[in-house]
Assembly symmetry: C2
Amino acid sequence: MTLADTTEAAERMALTLAQGGMQKATARVMAAFLFADTDSVTAPELAEQLGISSGSVSGAIKMLSTVGLIERAPAPGSRREHYRLRYGAWATLMSAQNGIVQAMFEAADEGIAAAGPDSPAARRLEEMRDFYGFMFRELPTLVERWHAERKQPSR
Amino acid sequence: MTLADTTEAAERMALTLAQGGMQKATARVMAAFLFADTDSVTAPELAEQLGISSGSVSGAIKMLSTVGLIERAPAPGSRREHYRLRYGAWATLMSAQNGIVQAMFEAADEGIAAAGPDSPAARRLEEMRDFYGFMFRELPTLVERWHAERKQPSR
DNA sequence: CAGAGTGTTCAAAGTTTTCTGAAGACTTGG
DNA sequence: CCAAGTCTTCAGAAAACTTTGAACACTCTG
């Protein structure tokens, strides 16, 4: 558990997040939040630690705040804004992903309307619409179950 | 349900797929498979219809085959390879996404080892690991339920 | 087993996305 | 209400990713 170890683990984490579609600088900032030794971090700290510009940090913080992964932390007596990971951040992220599922569902539905009934395309698109419809209904349920189980881990 | 309508719907579908992380040419090819009037399509047909190079089509077909969205279709009496959408393609795609979930879980687990126990980082990473562990267990179950309900839609 | 017809690969060009850095806007303490 | 410190914006630079197209490889058919 040396400093180098955590840095390396953080970088690997950033790579994984980037794989999931997050842009590189934002992913590194996110990883820094996860691995921070303190409860909250400031923008200049991130910029120096990661060797990126203040502009990039600003953009990353804006993005991460928008999707609900981080939040402003109260920091009395400090002029700088402090930020920290939000509780339940991952469930929030998953819910955001659900937006893509919804978009797929809607695209399929529009496709069926455009292709007309009884065409081969319509049959294919119906399978797609039904699948994403199912997922769109079930994913929020799954996230709720996570919340429920988290509060009551024993059982 | 004019030709223009389906073309437009297909392009919108391609955009949605691209949003989900698929590269543009591949997404357009995928959309073409969905909206095709015939059961199977050939590479040159795709190239001409979409106005892209044969190289791009080849790459797209390779990628879509790899993730299990399309398959070779038997086409007796034709020299060209025919391809078509696979049955259950969407469930397959969702299962592939599960790989990212697994990567997240593993990254969190490695992070905990690197950060050491009882650190603030470890607590954050444990929440992450537990969440993705839960999802990794539950998503395949969900896909199975989809398959089951699909075979028995009335109930 | 030769040759025409297909399919694939890959270096280079083009396009898009991302990052930087400096200028300007905002906020807060004095 | 001024001034110092902090944050955001945005045009341009850099990097990453896509696509092309031509050369090569493969596969049937006659």
